[in-house]
Symmetry: D2
């Protein structure tokens, strides 16, 4: 398998999906070993940092990419399989940022309150134990939480000449912030432009569902992914597949619309996989769906619909590419 290594210089960071020239062209089937900067652009390194003073609002969530996938055309499907995610630093950071997050007034939920206190939490990684350490700022409560690396942001260039901030989750993927974007998952995106122009970033060493305060345990990440191309078959919204689950992510506002999107697209997927009428798929989904919220803090909210493969007959999506990618991933190690 061809392997492509890439660590962007800061001047190569991408801050939008769309509107950015590719950093490299890649053949389908290539494995990429990519380094990505953290979502704070490394501006938060100590619990005494003051986010509003140190963060550059136009330099948040830098992406590694975009990459031009040779042969990818609008209507095709990009498959990104996550082989490995390894923290690139020995610590991660989280912060509350004025008027950003889920339990505060924001620029959208615009209210007359003063900002909540801004603060930083630093999480040290214990590599042996595979944990990240939480410490309260007030008092001396400490916890070791499991290290569970994931990518907050993976996506392609949008259609129609649009360019969206890397803080946005949308139909093109982007900042979905789902913990399911983890090792062993394959993500499928509809291709909107020649070359797909995908990028990744926003490594999280750990994140709860919803990402309440707006920032996970953010950290630079070394990611190994295999990228492949399926001609045609573009899903309307990002789909994910693991050995255990079929998954769809919807991203919009209000949150019930994110949910509706993910449900209707899953009904479509179940209908395709099992030859079901849509009303039957609606009924079945009603009784088997898992619905973990992904984020309630970004410019769009993301909700996942997830179905356990164990409840269903075996089936192969996109000609069984996930199983094949799993096999290829094992070869890489």
């Amino acid at each position: 398998m061809e392997i492509f290594d890439f660590a962007p210089r800061p001047d190569q960071f991408a801050y939008t999906f769309g509107g950015v020239a590719p950093v490299a062209a890649i053949e389908p089937g290539t494995a990429l070993r990519l380094w990505s900067e953290d979502a704070f652009n490394n501006a938060i390194t100590s619990r005494s940092d003051v986010p509003s003073a140190q963060l550059d609002p136009h330099r948040l969530n830098p992406q590694t990419g975009p990459f031009y996938l040779n042969g990818a055309e609008p209507g095709d499907t990009l498959a990104i399989h996550i082989v490995d995610l390894t923290p690139a630093r020995s610590w991660g950071a989280s912060a509350t940022i004025p008027f950003f997050g889920g339990l505060t007034a924001t620029d959208r939920t615009s209210l007359l309150h003063d900002a909540l206190p801004e603060a930083v939490w630093i999480y040290d990684i214990d590599t042996a134990a595979q944990t990240v350490g939480f410490q309260t700022r007030a008092g001396d409560f400490e916890l070791a939480l499991p290290l569970e690396p994931m990518l907050g942001t993976v996506g392609v260039a949008p259609a129609g000449g649009e360019a969206h901030s890397s803080l946005t989750p949308e139909r093109f993927g982007g900042n979905m912030d789902t913990p399911e974007m983890r090792v062993g998952s394959t993500a499928y995106f509809g291709v909107n432009v020649e070359g797909a122009l995908f990028s990744i970033g926003d490594g999280h060493y750990r994140q709860g569902e919803g990402e309440a305060c707006g920032t996970a345990v953010e950290g630079a990440m070394n990611s190994t992914i295999i990228v492949d191309l399926i001609k045609g078959g573009a899903p309307l919204w990002p789909r994910l597949e693991s050995d255990e689950h079929w998954m769809v992510v919807g991203s919009s506002r209000p949150m019930e619309d994110s949910w509706r999107i993910s449900q209707v697209e899953m009904i479509r997927w179940l209908s395709e996989l099992f030859g079901l009428d849509s009303m039957d798929a609606y009924q079945l989904l009603t009784q088997i769906a898992l619905v973990p919220v992904a984020n309630v803090v970004d410019t769009n909210y993301s909700v996942m619909t997830k179905v356990a493969k164990s409840l269903l007959p075996s089936a192969a999506a996109f000609d069984g590419i996930h199983a094949d990618l799993r096999r290829r991933a094992r070869e890489l190690r």
Copy 2:
């Protein structure tokens, strides 16, 4: 332990929380063995039934209760521990009902579409295998899904002289439709009126998160619960506890508000349990929350925030009553 058996006659069914006289008075610590009718009021029994013709809109989701808990006063906490849930029929039913459900125009999301097709699905229980059988209406796809009984509706009378339909989930509990209302869970409700006036119903033999089409595998249920009273300590919104999780359910619209409610109340609970400052609890919750959606179909949407006890130091809520109820439940078997 005192045991109280009760199966209401149809004329004793309650269709609201509040505004209904109690069917019995109960001492704290009593075990109740209750039968409840299904949410369709037994009007749907065959796949050839036509919901809009057979359902009586004012006779939906009949509750068993309300019960007057001796000594319960506003500001107290009612604990309901679920000891056993056993289907009272050999089959359950689900249906699509015109302008009801999550992926259809409704009386709220009022649009110009005609109704989706109405239809019934009957699920036979295989007691040996502990499954319910799904069959498509179109084609001959069949699945055996695990039987996972739960109560869609548990709650108390609301405050302020209000009476709400048993189809509504709110601060007083009610039709929250969370799969976590299962055997082994203890639910805590703030008491609003003398005697609490709690009732239960809406047995589900199985339900996916979100209850997309509006109806789970609905069925009459035999429920064994132990009811207890904690003086004071009323939570603002329903809390649940199992051996594995701390949980809060928020119910409102839009769905982000349901989420916000459940998150803020969980931050309050974590602060109480572990002596955390609220910003520290906000940070911690951000990294450990699980957020399964409960329902997106009722008059309010319900979202759960859930935290694994295994990630946290051991702690006892309400003086450790859950562990005690678990012990008492074992005595009952």
Copy 3:
């Protein structure tokens, strides 16, 4: 015309729609001269008052009624025509109340902020000029604003044995807080229970659209209304008619659902009045609708859809009862 005078004693105030016994029975066609207490229950009388200390949360928005309308049955239409609204005090009051209002965290939009400052503004009425006086609390800015009396709350008992707080706007009317509930308007409500059980209250000496801080210029009110009964024809949601406009109020959450309700119901009304196909009525409404927001602060948000009669052929709703009520109102003066 029969005239019925009524000023409730405090122990006769109603705090819910539904769940309250009628204070009197009324014949259709009766004129009622009613006094109503202000929404604060007269607990706010000076700018030094502290709302959270003085307001009783279970004694807010007291209603005058309910009245039993002889002959009214479910499915009928209640018409309430507003003949006169005269302030019953020489001053009105407005206040910011902790966690209540449109630009603050609330019990629904539950956030981690402290409450906004609570404060009271007193508005003196200048009867000659027909104005209310606004004075800032900080600095010495003063304005005389037109006195424009209206009723924030008018409604009937809900269906299904429900009882809702008088703070709630819903299908049954209630706390819609629309400035169009003014002299010269006729409001139509579907009757849900025998006798309709209507009540009125929440006098506003003036209110902007949206009622941003949650309270208008609140004041005790002397209202003269004529009440009549139309057999059948119950509208799904409250409709209003003035000499100038056809109007519908939708109340739900999120606000787009309130809008959808009011639009679909107006399409239905235009179709009835002018014999239009629903797609044609949709098209026409698109080009002629006025859409003033009513409230974004109550337990449901209210949005009005309004159409100028001057743009349309003349038409008579409910057999032209509005014109007739206007005529009868003139006789009363």
Copy 4:
């Protein structure tokens, strides 16, 4: 006054705000006489047209521009005064388009319904009467409605390297679809990039508030505008000023967030204009706001907050530029 005439060729149409090179550079104070194509890109010309067959989804809402305003820098304020709007054709068109509009399932409010019927309505202009003619498709109902030209879309390039579809209303303006963007209004936009890069389009010969079906009476337009630059003072969201009103437009989802944005920004404006404390401005706005909904159909919903100048002391925003532009506009005629 310098006058700049421009009618773009189809290959010069802009379909995004941001991401497009300017068609011309303009000095502050210039009057522009601009032709703009209709939002359908002239693909709908007869009532027998089928929108889904004839519309190119990537060629909707073509904009005239962008123009580079010499000297404009981020943080500055662009003032656009509308001097004249004259229909450039003798007829306008409106249409229902599958899964687009306010009373239908959409790609966001994703449901399982089939699309509503698609259809076209053609409105002939009667120049003498200054009306547009509505005709039903079913039956023979006809109405002459006042011609009330406005621009649905006016805006500048967004910040952060983003490019948004011309169908989107946002902080940068864009497709706000407010009937207040009419002759005599001055619109103020915060400048995000060098040269501001503003464009206009989406002429409406008439539109109701909310634009329910998603399309107004769409038509090519001849617009005369005067463009000026105010150094600094960038408003956070688009502000409008007419001789009669101060106005702010908020655009987001759900609709209550659009409202909150417009209210908080108006509180800020009132505080600036009259030296008010923000809680006093909140109170005052509560009693005087007008809140017409602008659109509930675009990728974001737009809500306006509007205050009558007649209720307030006289005041000058941006050094009284509106009055000056009115004077300059008269010179042009």
